[in-house]
Symmetry: C2
């Protein structure tokens, strides 16, 4: 049974190279900003010339697309790691979800820009990459259902509020905490509105 699942070295190398390219792009985006990433710089980072990137991606937006999916996967890992400290109490849990998302977003502005803002000209995530985003969102929805929150309206509102705070923080006080400090209060407002008391746990 050895040949059954023989390693496809070619495919392995190929996806390894894609990983390298995406990582290089992340590094550049982190250092110089998302829009300042040029294919020539990315190529140089991995020891190539710009046109060679087209062997692995069909366009620059295709690289953004890979980054988009990657970012949401990163978030799911990050969220999973933070799950150990997730409180039982419903209100505290919501604060937790919001804080985890907020911290993740603020830690890497270029990444958040790609994930949430439709800000890169002409870029729209592919079906495949979007799936990662949907999966993360669906996971969040499931958590919220455990706390008795199951309306789409409620989720929309929650996400919009948290994202609003993230965006304000990044746009007007990057590295600070002027809006970060308001997060718990915003979530409390939300919880109050839903009638979720400070003592309540999942029903």
């Amino acid at each position: 049974m050895l040949g059954e699942t023989k390693r496809d070295r070619k495919a392995e190398r190929r996806s390894e190279t894609r990983r390298e390219i995406v990582d290089a792009a992340w590094r550049l985006a982190h250092d110089k900003g998302l829009a300042q990433v040029t294919l020539r710089d990315v190529a140089e980072s991995v020891g190539m010339r710009a046109p060679s990137l087209y062997t692995h991606f069909k366009s620059k937006n295709d690289i953004y697309d890979a980054m988009f999916g990657d970012a949401w996967n990163q978030y799911q890992e990050y969220e999973a790691a933070a799950r150990a400290s997730e409180p039982k109490n419903s209100r505290a849990a919501m604060r937790h979800y919001a804080r985890v998302y907020f911290d993740f977003a603020v830690a890497f502005p270029a990444r958040h820009q790609l994930m949430s803002l439709r800000t890169v000209p002409d870029f729209t995530p592919s079906e495949a990459a979007y799936a990662s985003s949907v999966a993360a969102m669906e996971h969040f929805a499931a958590r919220m259902r455990q706390h008795g929150v199951d309306g789409q309206d409620d989720l929309d509102l929650f996400v919009a509020i948290v994202d609003g705070l993230v965006t304000a923080q990044l746009a007007n006080d990057p590295g600070g905490e002027r809006w970060s400090r308001l997060l718990d209060r915003a979530i409390d407002m939300f919880a109050d509105n839903l009638g979720i008391t400070s003592e309540g746990s999942p029903p």
Copy 2:
């Protein structure tokens, strides 16, 4: 006393041309998106060649800068026009402020993108243009003070929430009302949090 305030025809023509250019840029931004505006297209719209724009603006970002200031001036006019229907009741007034801002933003996505999102690569508004934004914000703050809301935290939170809803609406359901419908509820949450009752009027 005729020469005292003699018209400066040159300056008039100059600022008239600037107006024309900015208007043309708005038109293109409206039709094709902010990032798709090219100097060659703008120039053609006003019967010029691209380099000639540099007679009136020192760079493309300088045009964006003029648009930024213009947008906030537009908002102040829009807000002033809506003032006739501003309710006395505090909670209703806050709903009004939020709705006016929301509708203005959603009516012209490219404009909102320029006003609120730091989304145009390398563009940061000048001191002068930023002043228009600050003026609008200060006006809003004054209104809120009349309703007993005077903390910077409160204003920050209010603006972040409304902007979060606007951004979500534009990004995920442009032209729809999935987040628009949540606006009043969000403001009620906020008002509840501040202890502003449905009956309360300015103190």
